[in-house]
């Protein structure tokens, strides 16, 4: 299609979504019933809920009145399966197949809301019947997640209705590539994969770098255990990522793109691949995009279970069909990337921000957040917290707001001990810093990193030595082995931590652990190795007394560690 046809299609598509905006429809549908179909809800049984809804709607002869739509991930996975009914936005949680029959007969036929399936505020005990009123959603600012859980991710039409591909059309029609890069620079967008490099600056380097063809790459190898933002965006709003990539390709002058998605995310791979096919079939990808003479295409590459492939140079190696081992930088991928050509590589969430920034303007985006950390960030809230799931907040929001106002606090009346951000590359932030506003800078000052957005809440029952052991085991397993500090250093640290958790550690071990951590941090080849010691460094500096109890008294204060294990069972 061309730009004019896109505009016509948008007008028609919008009319079909009126019910979801709380308005009266023009096509006869009185209700839109949205069933969350994210990975979390699939595992809690949303498919049988959907099937029962459809059957019962048919049985009652309501097909012309009610539309059932399966959406991507809405966010609060612990409340699944989730059914939301528009025009009101009534939110039903933990819906079972039997409840689905009841929803059709009571809500859809009689217009009576079902209290038993509604969310009740744990603090006030009051029913919160619309999703917009629930604390979990009310305290968020959903920009990247604007479509997740609201549209059918397999429908191009629904994405277009929500201003989809409007940014791309505007750019191809009126903007020079330089203008696009300027807009991204003005927005202050920084890489959402963790390092926080200014996106506009990166694009500018690739634009100016000599060499053709140029490539754009989407890093969807979300390897940090405990992070699932990218999974949800790829599953729930794949076109936003794709549109971002096309705009990025136009800006830097690329003709081919690759999306590298980890194999552990089959639904994300399926939905994104389907989005590519739809876009290609409709002139939004491929040759002569929107009739404006710009050519660009995208291919999906599936990972094969290697954490290190989230590191950009390793990821590029993997796309080229090699062992996913990182290489020293410079040269940076912007100069010498995929197949030796200039390449811009950005994370899924970064790409999903791009259409939004272009559509609403860099100034708008820059008005959100702190001085140096602009916009919103999606976090995957999990661990010892009441409401687990995806949370999007403006940068500058405090950890307390995320954990208590949105997350509903720590379960079972336990005390908050720490928050682990940045996965195995980050650190544990002690509870006393819970009022610090979240930004790239503030988290670094606290000995952690923003990372890709994993946020694991730890309560008083968590042992910090065991946490450090867990991350070090993970990293030493995932170390690619190319450089010695990481290969041997992480192994030694893992062994020392295991010793400590088994009651065999000594004060000298603790000194050696800290020394090793500093050596590895300063000498490893890539980001994986350089950040691997962070969990050790942050826990030894903030929870030294806990380590001391382990190595001096051979006791674990929380009782988590299996102290005093018989020598024969000690791991070699």
């Amino acid at each position: 299609m061309n730009i004019e046809q896109l505009t016509v299609l948008r007008t028609a598509a919008r009319e079909k979504l009126l019910v979801r905006d709380g308005e009266k429809s023009k096509d006869g549908y009185e209700y839109h019933v949205l069933v969350c179909g994210g990975t979390g809800c699939v595992s809690s049984g949303c498919k049988s809920v959907r099937d029962t809804l459809i059957d019962e709607i048919k049985n009652r002869g309501l097909e012309e009145k009610v539309r059932v739509i399966v959406t991507g991930c809405l966010g609060p996975c612990n409340m699944g399966p989730i059914v939301t009914i528009y025009p009101d936005g009534t939110f039903y949680q933990r819906v079972k197949a039997d409840d689905a029959v009841y929803i059709v007969r009571e809500h859809l036929e009689q217009g009576r809301h079902i209290e038993g399936l509604m969310y009740r505020s744990p603090e006030t005990g009051k029913l919160q019947d619309r999703w917009q009123d629930i604390d979990y959603f009310r305290n968020q600012k959903r920009l990247v997640l604007r479509n997740c859980g609201f549209i059918d991710p397999l429908s191009l039409e629904e994405y277009i209705a929500r201003d989809g591909y409007a940014a791309l059309a505007a750019v191809l029609e009126a903007d020079s590539p330089e203008k696009v890069i300027d807009e991204i620079t003005i927005s202050g967008l920084r890489g959402r994969g963790g390092a926080g490099f200014p996106t506009g600056l990166k694009w500018g380097f690739v634009r100016k770098a000599p060499g053709t063809p140029k490539y754009v790459v989407c890093n969807g190898d979300e390897g940090d255990p405990g992070a699932f933002m990218d999974r949800s965006v790829l599953e729930g709003d794949p076109h936003s990522v794709l549109e971002g990539m096309v705009i990025g390709a136009y800006a830097v002058g690329a003709s081919q793109g690759y999306a590298y998605i980890r194999a552990e995310y089959p639904l994300a791979i399926k939905n994104f691949t389907y989005a590519i096919e739809l876009a290609r079939a409709n002139g939004l990808l491929g040759k002569n995009i929107l009739g404006m003479g710009f050519d660009f295409d995208v291919e999906v590459r599936v990972g094969a279970g290697a954490f290190v492939c989230g590191e950009e140079t390793a990821l590029l190696e993997s796309i080229m069909g090699r062992r996913g081992e990182p290489r020293p930088r410079p040269p940076f991928p912007a100069q010498e990337g995929l197949f030796g050509k200039p390449t811009t590589i950005n994370n899924v969430e970064t790409w999903a921000n791009v259409p939004l920034i272009i559509h609403r303007g860099g100034e708008y985006y820059a008005s959100i957040g702190t001085e140096k950390s602009k916009g919103t960030k999606v976090f995957a809230l999990a661990g010892k917290v009441n409401n687990t799931g995806l949370v999007e907040v403006p940068l500058g929001t405090t950890l307390r707001q995320v954990i208590y106002d949105i997350g509903g606090g720590v379960p079972n009346g336990k005390a908050l001990k720490a928050v682990q951000t940045g996965g195995p590359s980050g650190g544990a932030i002690p509870a006393k810093f819970v009022d610090v506003p979240i930004s790239y800078e503030s988290l670094a000052e606290l000995g952690s990193i923003m990372g890709s957005g994993g946020m694991i809440v730890l309560d008083e029952d968590s042992c910090m030595v065991d946490l450090a052991r867990f991350f070090m085991d993970f990293v030493q397993e995932e170390s690619c082995g190319k450089c010695t500090p990481c290969r041997i250093g992480t192994r030694r640290m893992s062994e020392i931590l295991t010793k400590m958790t088994q009651g065999r550690g000594t004060p000298e071990d603790l000194e050696l652990l800290i020394e090793l951590a500093n050596v590895v941090k300063n000498s490893a080849l890539c980001g994986l190795g350089q950040t691997a010691p962070n969990p050790v460094l942050s826990t030894t500096s903030n929870y030294r007394d806990e380590y001391d109890t382990h190595v001096k008294e051979q006791k674990c204060p929380t009782g988590v560690c299996p102290m005093r294990v018989a020598p024969s069972r000690v791991r070699k």
């Binding site: 996975c77 992070a227 552990e264 990972g303 290697a306 993997s318 999990a382 010892k384 694991i456």
Partner: protein, 161 residues
Amino acid sequence: MGSERHTSVDEHTRSILVPHIGRQGAFVDALHDVQQAFGYLPEQALRVLADELKLPLSQVWGVASFYDQFYSVPRGRNIVRVCTGTACQVRGCQAVLQRMESVMDLKNGETSADRAFTLETVNCVGCCGLAPVVVINKKVVPNRDVERVIRDLSKGDEGDE
């Protein structure tokens, strides 16, 4: 017998590789497809792959052995993977793994003698909201349902998607 078996592996592998010949850097994709077909990467298939893609066998093996999700030995018909991501760790996946080891009478990484089941761990499947979870074949199963699903699978009831 042996050569007949080789011939069929050879032909099957060649047919799988057709769409990948000449595609830039498509080698990891090709390995995925071969593994999909055989359930693991048979040595003979890797030899054919090296031949067809004009790569040294050492390089093919180097890549295949680098990634966690490529297997050089046959695995069970049903794969049970205990998630050991951070959220699952905080919520007690080690106890889940121990329970699975005793229920299935397999150690982490082992396949049962009748090849019905393989038990392994996986680094986070992004279902942290439901932690701890176990992935059975392609389905993420919350902790409370795991034993029921395994019982159903043992009875030959292919309950998965």
